[in-house]
Structures are given as structure tokens and as C-alpha cells.
Amino acid sequence: MRVDERHSIRVTVNGDAFERSIEPRMLLSDFLRHELELTGTHVGCEHGVCGACTVLLNGQSVRSCLVFAVQTDGEEITTVEGLTPGIGVGGGAGDEPELHPLQAAFRDAHALQCGFCTPGVLLSLIPFLEENPHPNERDIREALSGNLCRCTGYQNIVDAVKLAAERIHR
């Protein structure tokens, strides 16, 4: 596979189908951010440690900096923009789409400061919450340990996950 040989891929991102011709070496993170302009996915380290670029690939959390975009041909991807369909599409105050329960819990528990790691944290924890509807603190910290956050000290993120779990299953 030559570097300059381009490949056509079709992916479904947040429910929308896209077809693009790309270099085989293009990372999924760069594809989402720069080809599709879905810039909510952030890049923190490009070596798979910080977790900021986490997205869902067929419902599973993956680090988009460790996946080549060509590997996702025919697959389904969810980014942070997909958590609140309709976000950013016109409209003024008052008719904003409802936040995902985990997003709302993050706001209510002050689980974000600079917000750069937040999209990746959300997309790591949403599948976790689906599989673990009543997680304890240790489970949450374990699930969160693949995401680096320099601002919060993690405590409020842990609390937000508990809060979201309570609200979802109330």
C-alpha cells in the first residue's frame, strides 16, 4: 500500500453517511477532525495514552488516534457531536437539544474545567455505564483510568458518573 495511493471509504458518523477518498496513513482522529470537520473529538497525545480522542466504533470505545481511517470503511462511528443530535444547527437560545444524561451530570457535578479531555471521557464512560448500570467508585475509577485529565483531579467525574447512573435508573 503506497503512502500516496488514495482509498475511498464509506463511513456512517453520528447517523450520517460519508464517502471520502483518503491516504491510507490518515488517522481516524485526523479524518474526523479535518476531513469531516467534527472537531469535538480532541487529540491530546497521538500515542494512545490520554484518551482525549476516544470515539465509539460500532458502539465500542476506541482511541481514534490509534485507528487508521481506512480501517473504518463500512463501519459506524459516534463522536461527541452524536450525543446531542441537532447540535450546532441554527436555532437560538431555548431550543437547544437536550444533553445526554451523562453530559448533564458532568455539568451539574462540575466534572469538567478546560473541557479538552471531556469528549473522550464521555465516550469512554457511556458504553461503561450501559454495561454497568450501578457502578461503584472503584469500578468507575478503573473505567476512567484510561483517560487523563489535568484539571479536575477526577473526583467530580466519578461523582458525575454516579449521578448519571442514579438519574438513568431512577
Binding site: 472537531t39 473529538t41 497525545c45 479536575t152
Partner: protein, 791 residues
């Protein structure tokens, strides 16, 4: 009566945008025709540049341009000295600032040599690999003490040695009290480097419009206004032709206040030269070399105490590593020098430091900014003295605290803001008592620890204090206006990197104007919206810009009342502001909405009367004469496994005094994050340079930022001594959590391990290093004595 907003835990205005991926960060800027830059950086720490051949790179597909130092012509200049030395007698300072691209010489690994601009970042990096550089490696200066030995390799040819500065500050007469001390205790203390590790690396996007003659720069800086002013000067433009936007910034922690980074100088120049927008985003590996770092110091300190454990004086001589250049002046070592005094009465103090150049990345403030070192030295001296005197660690602090009657307290030395180090206010004992009570200090020592020891477990307690000079000048400003839709707009110059300014400033303004917090829109860090100010550093945003917001909002309040009184034909004193409207207190039906008033204040016909201004808008500034002194006590209970040297923090308590609290949720968040950063500094994070100045752990695989499984739950509480230096009575909090953690770890570890020969006099530790220290202490029982200077 209107609803109170100041002091309330309101949710943040900015969160929705951040949570949904809508917030704009620098790398999210996409412009038509935008090119991408990548840098060739030196693999050597110290080398002479013999030849650079960029022909292969220039010929590569997709490459628009390649620049070396030679191509920059007169634009190639060493950067400015950001902070000149403070007015201290006998001070010696030698300036050597960073250059845009290395010309003759390389002075640290990662120093940029050439920049490639191409259609994509991928192509730019391909072309970087095609540049041939011929370097002649030189011996590197890595060790701070080695920097000053005779015949050490010289880093800057224009200087006679690697000495960057020499500063002595003293009060009283240390030598005189030394002779009458009951206990003299001296040690060598080491503190080593880490990185700030903001999750967003640095980045710059520049766009020059020849048609409008305007340059727009998006920059991850903490100081957009000084960047604008400096860029204008360098590029031969007026300030008004340059707009710098620091949009959402993914964490700052200090290094993003550094200016000017080479990339900040080059990207706008290239964009103007090529007539196309250019983007550069630092990758994580680059960040380990190209972004500033902190914390290399070696202290030789001595404390003199009387028989009651009262401090007679402290003598400290230290070396500070500034890296390859010293653009940030003396801020960091001056902070170390001043913060060492802590919350204590220290009648006699002699502090002398030398700043040295090394072949390592540049040092500028990182969250704490030198304060850690001072706190570590003082707290450790007190702990070791307490041990000698058979006194409890909390008791020796108690005996030495300044009392509430001592304020304002003049330490008789000069602080980083060039003003005398004067503490405005504080009350330290209640904070200590509260922290001790929260963690159960006494019962831990009397009951719990003996029981755990009997079980063979190694669990210890620590309790330490610190003060932090915050909220320094020179000034910040804000413009507040009531818009025609009835909402309130606030613009201020400070950039924001997660501190919640969009909310805390909104709370301050909402309080004055009687509107809801979510109806106040705050813009920070866009020089197109507000262009007076300095930046976000030194835990000063809330204090300085916050008070400017208050003053501007109070002025708008005055305009609202004046206009409404005219229109309703009543006295101003009979009116109240509530719910985004003005109403007559005695007849609430007589009301005018802010929107209606804003329209009335900007008429299309008639005349604005003399002495009146159109609009409901005001700009105000706040410049504190000197900073406000925050303080706090941290306590922890920690368990260590001596076999593996792994630790587990069982409890962590913070009691903090940042004066009046604007938003307790945000304040607590700042503290929690600071503690996590401090834990990283204390036990996990250390940059490993080899003897050639090569950084061996430049990735998050090898440099360990703490994760959710290392950082414990932190319990926090407050005491409140309002600052008399600003109308809101607030003090800064941004750096507080990170400052005393190393000292706390050391005390708690010694208590947990209870080994006679174990003294912790260095930070960062790591499980490996702690294992070595435990082994050394075990094999040299009584070894501590041989290193003691106890008299």
C-alpha cells in the same frame, strides 16, 4: 431584594459548549487555503550548527516553503525579556533569550532548526525528514551544580559563565541568632523537573488579510493581549491591525503564559509572507521539549530554633535551573525565596540564589511557580526539627504561625511583583485545627496508628501549611454593557483555560445588575473585544479581572439607575434592579426592562445631554497595589508497602483560605485539580535527562501523569479572611492545591515507614526511588546521624 449570585455554587455557563463539542479550540480553526507547519528540532542538547540543507524538503510534493534562521533576515531576533529583574540591591542578571530558529548553535534538545509549510501536516512532516543538518555535538551542561564549575562547557558565548543571575535577600541578622540557637539543623534539598502536561498542547493559527491589512492569530496563549502588542511590534504593524484570539484553551498551568515561543513569532510572519493562513499544532512529543518546564532547584538550608521550637532564623542558599534561556527573568526563584517564609514568623532570614543556564528546555512558571520549592524546604526543616525536639509536627507549626494581629505583615524582602512582600491578611491556626479535626489527626496518632502498626501495616499522617502570594498587578480591565435584547455582555482581556471565568465573572456582574447568571455573556481572551490587560497567571484572574468586572458593572448599574430615574421621574434611591429590569420599590408595576432601557440609552433622534454617554456601557480597570495572600493546610493519611514502595493515599484533606469565595464549586474544583497535579509532582512525574541532555521519557507512556486510580478523593473546607486589598475581598486559588503536596508526601511517608535512617529530602519521588531510600535507610541504621548537623 434581588437574588444573590456571589458566593453561590452555580453551574457553569461554558459547560454546554464544552460538553457538546461545539467549543472552539485553536486546532478547530479551519480556514480556506490553510497551510500546515512542522518543525525540524534538534536531537542534540548542545551542538554547533555547521550546515543545513533544505533542498530536498523544498522539492517535496505539497511543500509551500521551508525556512531556516538564514531565511528570516532581520526578523531573526532573540525574544524579549518578559519580566525584568526586580529592584533588589546587589542583584546580578545576565539576559539570554530564545531565538526563533537556531542559527549557529543548539542549546537544548527540541530547539527548532527549520520550519516546513505544506498543504497538509502529513506532507510537512514528510519534508522535515528530508532536511539534512550537519551538527557538531558539544559537551552538554545538564546538572545545575556542574553548570558553574570551572571549565564547564559554556552555553552562551556572550557571557563569561553559565551564571544567569545572583540574588541575595535578607532580613535581620541570621549569623547573630545562629550563635544563640538551641537547635541548628541543616540539610540539602532537591526538587526536580516535570511538565505541566496540559491536555491540549500549544498551537498557533495565523491569517493575514492584505485587503483589510489585518492579521488574525488564534493562539493557545494565557496572555493574548501582550502577544498582540508584541507581534505588532515585531511585524511592523499597529496594535490595532492585529487581533489575537485565545479561544477555549485546553489547560494552561503556566507554560502558556511564556512568550514569545519561537512558533508564535514564526507562524504569523510566514502567513504574511505567503499570503495564506498557516496552522501549527504542537504534538505531544514536541511538547516535552518545546514547551517550558519547571522545578529544578538544589537548596542548602539551615534553620535555627530556640528551646521551645520557635524559629530564630533561616539560612538558605540555592541553585535554580533556568534551562537554556532565561526569558521569564527571576519570577520562579524569587517565588521560591519569598514563599519559603510561609505562614511563619521568621525574624532573621538570609536567602541567596544563583540561577544557572543548562542545556535543557526553558524554565518558566508551572502551577506553583517556584513556591513548591520554598514550601518543601521550610516544611521539611520544621518536620526534622520537630523530630529532634521530640515535638509533634503540628505543634511546631502552631508555635510559629503569625497571629491574626500581625497583619499586614511585612517580610522586608521584595516579591515577584516588585513590591515588598507584605501579607495582607490571614488566620492560620483555625485552618490547622480544622484540617486536624477533619482528618482525625490526634486519634490517628494515639489510637489508629498503633493498632495498624501492630498489624504490621505502615500508615502515616502528614500535615503541612503554606501561603501563596496571589492576585498581583499591574491591572486588568473589563467592559460591561446591557444589550438591546436585555442580556448583559462582559468583555475582559484575561484568557481562560478552564478556570470558569465565563461563570465567576458573570456571577460578579449579575450580582451588581440583578440579572440571572446565564443572562450574562462573558468574552475573554479576544483582543478584538477587549485589548487592555496582561494575562492569566499567578492566580490573579479572579482577583484582578474579577474586581474590574465588579467596577464596570457598578458603573453600568449607576447608568441604569440614572436613566430609569429620568424616564420614570422618580429618585434613583427609590429604584431597584431585579430580574433584568428596574422597578420602583414602592410600586413594582412601574418597571422598565433592561432591553427597553438599552434602546432608550442609544436614541436615533434628540440629543445625548452633556455629561451623558450613549448606551448602558462602562469600562473599568483594577490594579491592586499589591497581591493578596492566600493560605492553606493540607493533611493526608497514607499507607505504604515497604516491599514494593507503592503508596495508597487513604485520606486527603485541604482547608483553604482564598478570602471571599465567588463560586465554591469552582474553587473546590481548582483545589482538587491542583492536588492531583501536586500528587503527580510528588510521586509519579519526573523528567529523566541523561548526561547528554537527552530527555528519556518524552511521552505519556514513560512520563506518568496520575490517573483516576492514583488520585484519591479529596475532602476540602474553607476558612475565610477577606483580602482588604480589593473590594470583593477575594484571593487567588488556581495554584494552591499543587503547592504543598511534595512536603506533605515526605512527612507522611516518613511517619508511615518509621525508619530511623529515613529522611526524605527530595521531590519527585517514585516507587523506585522510595524503594532505594527504604533500602539505604535499612542498611545504614544510624546513617541519619552521620549526615546530621545537629548541635
Amino acid at each position: 431584594m434581588s437574588v444573590r449570585h456571589f458566593g453561590k455554587p452555580v453551574v457553569r455557563n461554558e459547560d454546554r459548549r464544552l460538553l457538546t463539542g461545539e467549543a472552539l479550540f485553536v486546532d478547530d480553526v479551519h480556514l480556506d487555503g490553510m497551510l500546515h507547519a512542522a518543525f525540524l528540532r534538534s536531537d542534540h542538547a548542545h551542538a554547533r550548527v555547521l550546515e543545513i540543507d533544505v533542498s530536498g524538503a523544498r522539492a517535496h510534493e505539497g511543500v509551500a516553503a521551508v525556512f531556516t534562521a538564514e531565511d528570516l533576515g532581520d526578523y531573526w531576533q532573540p525574544g524579549p525579556l518578559l519580566v525584568s529583574p526586580p529592584p533588589i540591591e546587589r542583584l546580578e542578571f545576565h539576559q539570554a533569550t530564545q531565538v526563533p530558529l537556531a542559527r549557529d548553535k543548539i542549546r537544548h534538545v527540541g530547539e527548532p532548526i527549520a520550519v516546513v509549510v505544506a498543504r497538509t501536516r502529513y506532507e510537512a512532516e514528510d519534508a522535515v525528514a528530508l532536511i539534512d543538518v550537519d551538527l557538531e555535538p558539544l559537551d552538554a551542561v545538564v546538572d545545575v551544580e556542574g553548570a558553574l564549575v570551572e571549565n564547564a562547557p559554556r552555553i552562551h558565548e556572550h557571557l563569561s559563565s553559565n551564571l544567569a543571575a545572583h540574588v541575595i535577600q535578607e532580613k535581620g541578622d541570621y549569623q547573630a541568632v545562629r550563635d544563640r540557637a538551641t537547635l541548628l539543623l541543616s540539610r540539602r534539598f532537591l526538587y526536580d523537573r516535570g511538565v505541566s502536561a496540559s491536555m491540549e498542547t500549544r498551537g498557533v493559527v495565523a491569517d493575514w488579510s492584505a485587503k483589510s491589512g489585518e492579521l488574525t492569530v488564534w493562539d493557545t496563549t494565557q496572555a493574548p493581549i501582550p502577544i498582540r502588542n508584541g507581534l505588532a511590534g515585531m511585524l511592523g504593524l499597529s496594535e490595532s491591525q492585529v487581533r489575537v484570539i485565545a479561544p477555549f484553551v485546553g489547560g494552561g498551568f503556566g507554560p502558556k503564559i511564556m512568550m514569545f515561543y519561537p512558533e508564535e513569532v514564526l507562524i504569523p510572519w510566514i502567513a504574511m509572507r505567503l499570503g495564506q493562513p498557516v496552522k501549527w499544532i504542537e504534538d505531544r512529543q514536541e511538547s516535552f521539549f518545546a514547551t517550558t518546564q519547571e522545578r529544578g532547584q538544589v537548596h542548602d538550608a539551615e534553620i535555627a530554633l530556640d528551646e521551645n521550637g520557635r524559629i530564630l532564623g533561616v539560612h538558605d542558599v540555592f541553585l535554580h535551573d533556568t534551562g537554556a534561556y532565561d526569558p521569564y527573568g527571576l519570577t520562579v526563584p524569587i517565588n521560591s525565596q519569598c514563599t519559603l517564609l510561609g505562614p511563619y514568623r521568621v525574624p532573621n532570614y538570609y536567602s541567596e540564589f544563583r540561577v544557572v543556564f543548562t542545556n535543557k528546555p526553558i524554565v518558566s512558571p508551572v502551577r506553583g511557580a517556584g513556591r513548591q520549592h520554598g514550601v518543601f524546604v521550610m516544611e521539611r526543616l520544621l518536620d526534622l526539627a520537630a523530630r529532634e525536639l521530640g515535638m509533634d509536627c503540628s505543634e511546631i507549626r502552631r508555635r510559629n504561625y503569625l497571629s491574626p494581629d500581625d497583619f499586614p505583615h511585612d517580610h522586608e524582602i521584595i516579591y515577584q511583583d516588585f513590591a515588598p512582600l507584605v501579607y495582607d491578611s490571614g488566620d492560620y491556626l483555625p485552618a490547622l485545627d480544622k484540617a486536624a479535626a477533619m482528618i482525625g489527626y490526634d486519634t490517628f496518632i494515639t489510637d489508629e496508628q498503633p493498632r495498624l502498626r501492630a498489624e504490621g501495616r505502615h500508615v502515616g499522617v502528614g500535615i503541612v501549611s503554606y501561603v501563596e502570594g496571589t492576585g498581583i498587578g499591574p491591572y486588568e480591565g473589563a467592559r460591561v454593557s446591557v444589550e438591546r435584547n436585555g442580556r448583559v455582555h462582559v468583555a475582559t482581556g484575561v484568557g481562560t483555560q478552564g478556570q470558569g471565568h465565563f461563570t465567576s465573572f458573570a456571577q460578579i456582574v449579575a450580582e451588581q445588575l440583578g440579572v440571572e447568571v446565564e443572562d450574562v455573556e462573558v468574552v475573554t481572551g479576544d483582543t478584538g473585544k477587549f485589548h487592555w490587560g496582561t494575562g492569566t497567571f499567578a492566580s490573579r484572574g479572579a482577583v484582578v479581572a474579577g474586581n474590574a468586572c465588579r467596577a464596570a458593572a457598578a458603573a453600568v448599574r449607576g447608568k441604569v439607575l440614572k436613566l430609569a430615574a429620568q424616564l420614570l421621574d422618580v429618585a434613583e434611591g427609590d429604584l431597584e434592579l431585579t430580574g433584568g429590569a428596574v422597578r420602583l420599590m414602592t410600586d413594582p408595576a412601574r418597571t422598565l426592562s433592561f432591553g427597553a432601557l438599552a434602546i432608550q440609552a442609544n436614541p436615533l433622534r434628540g440629543a445625548v445631554k452633556p455629561g451623558m454617554e450613549p448606551g448602558l456601557e462602562a469600562t473599568a480597570y483594577f490594579g491592586p497595589e499589591r497581591g493578596s495572600t492566600a493560605s492553606g493546610v493540607h493533611a493526608m493519611i497514607l499507607e505504604v508497602d515497604p516491599e514494593t514502595a507503592m503508596v495508597e493515599i487513604r485520606r486527603y484533606v485541604v482547608v483553604h483560605d482564598c478570602g471571599k469565595v465567588i463560586n465554591p464549586t469552582i474553587v473546590e474544583g481548582q483545589i482538587l485539580g491542583g492536588v492531583a497535579h501536586g500528587i503527580g509532582n510528588a510521586f509519579y512525574e519526573q523528567l529523566a535527562f541523561d548526561a547528554n541532555g537527552q530527555l528519556l521519557n518524552a511521552s505519556f507512556m514513560d512520563y506518568l501523569v496520575p490517573t483516576a486510580t492514583e488520585v484519591p478523593r479529596v475532602e476540602s473546607d474553607h476558612v475565610e479572611t477577606p483580602s482588604p486589598f480589593n473590594p470583593l475581598g477575594i484571593k487567588g486559588v488556581g495554584e494552591a492545591g499543587a503547592i504543598p503536596t511534595g512536603a506533605l508526601f515526605a512527612q507522611a511517608l516518613e511517619d508511615a515507614l518509621d525508619l530511623p535512617g529515613l529522611e526524605i529530602v527530595e521531590i519527585p519521588l517514585s516507587p523506585n526511588r522510595l524503594f532505594e531510600l527504604i533500602r539505604e535507610a535499612g542498611t545504614s541504621s544510624g546513617g541519619k546521624r552521620s549526615r546530621d548537623n545537629v548541635e
